[in-house]
Amino acid sequence: MRTLDWIVLLGTIGFIVIYGIWKTRGSKDIEGYLKGDNSMKWWTIGLSIMATQASAITFLSTPGQAYEDGMRFIQFYFGLPIAMVIISVTIIPIFYRLKVFTAYEFLENRFDLKTRSLAALLFLVQRGLAAGITIYAPAIILSTMLGWSLTITNLVIGVVVIVYTMSGGTKAVSVTQKQQMAVMMGGMIVAGIMVVSYLPDNVGFGDAVAVAGKLGKMNVVDFSWDWKTSWDDRYNFWSGITGGLFLALSYFGTDQSQVARYLGGKSIGESRLGLLFNGLLKIPMQFLILFIGVMVFVFYQFNQPPVFFNEAAKNKVYATAHADELRTLEGEYNTIFEQKQAAVHELVAAIKTDDEAAIVAAQTQVQTYTDAGKEVREQVKTVIKTATPDAETKDTDYVFISFVMKYLPAGLVGLLLAVIFSAAMSSTASELNALASTTVVDIYKRSVKSNGDPKHYLNASKLFTLAWGLIAILFATYASLLDNLIQAVNIIGSIFYGTILGIFLVAFYFKRIKGNAVFFAAILAELVVLYCFYFTEIAFLWFNVIGCVAVILFGFILQGLIGKKNEELVKA
């Protein structure tokens, strides 16, 4: 890192944090601390919602995903705008009418204390783990790329977030997220412009998109459906519009880290507009991030890519007995790239002249070299795993950051690192804020100490923010000791979201179903989801649909049985 990069990185992060603390100083009660005195305007809510969802992994992994798999990941977000409309129409008015601090508070009003506590506890376990991962996942990549210690990187992200979240509560989270979102989008647009400008002189923007298309990366929408195979295809139109809808309904309608963002609105109208703003802009934003990944892919058609994007992991192998083996494979990979060059330029020339036969011939040739390169990369991964068994051989998360560090000029590297740190901080801040408010409102104030004064609950909220922050840092620090932790946490999220959404949908739309029925229906639905997870190949997005539908079905059946039993008791 050069001096200018340090100045840009520290200046950007420092300004956002200090501005956030200064702007939101002096909350005197829990209303101000957890709901920002209901003073947030729609654009603050909208940006805050987007910044909460966009974690650092969004900016590190998504371009890498597009590099490997093309644009089709965008379909994952197709259900989101529909969910924003449904929440605006139905959920927001109910939350406002009941003046709730958390989503789970509403469940006691509708059902009973045990259902509220069950949903709050499920959220605390799931989000508590996720907060650690939100810090750990980018820290592991940033520490590798920057040569920092993992503990220091965890501490830098965690401590800074704790300071401003503890100080200003919900308002500080939303105010800082507005700035962080500006940095994130500005940084990504600059990165996109830079990667296109690095393409050879004879390759224009249109040619680059055409090359990406001919090499299978512009696969944005896939409407095809096969009853036998499409269920385990994670990203197609149908799983995006249905599974994605249920996931977005669960996340934005029942997850306190998002609910807190719009509960701080000045009015129902401001909260609605904030959510609809997200519904309008989320897909274009994800499209941009994926498209940058595709342009990085095109860039590496004309510039030698590393055989393995995690250079630090590769360098470790060079210090072992497998160094020669790796060196030979790297040489082979570079030779394949040189041979591919002629074919890539032929493809560009054929695209320019619109010669279909020449395009197909060049396309086939490029694909042959690409497949040969892939084969060598697989062998490299095997060597890395043999030489250093602890090493992670999935390197797609390193594609974008490795490009940034190697090719962007001084200052812009600092800006892009500020993007990633901002994203890590914005999602962690929302999580800590939501964990603290759920702990205080749904557990501490409701079941432990119900007679405290406003000052007491304000202090308790600050202390719980600190406590959850420390737990998150601790979890992030020791996360590497557990295998496949990130995957495990993602799966835990998918397993519980459907059931939680089912409880809320029953609460909103099925007035006949009461507390006992929904409580036991949720437990049964959870067992069904666990069965699907352990014994079937169904893609995780569908768990949200299955869990949700199962709660509703079991709720009806159990309510029927309980209702009959009650009638018999009354008759007896």
């Binding site: 209901n38 965008i74 705008p81 998109v209 512009m218 944005v220 009015s267």
Partner: protein, 48 residues
Amino acid sequence: MKKNHPVDEEPPIDKPPFFKTWKGMYWLVLGNLAFMILLFYAITKLYE
């Protein structure tokens, strides 16, 4: 809840911008989604 608002602040939005009712805003979001899906489909077909 609104007692903490300073009196000189802008009034909160209760009606959507550009439309007379919220229904218009909802159709804008859904229409935008439909437009994007069609656009993405066109891009997929154009560049495949």
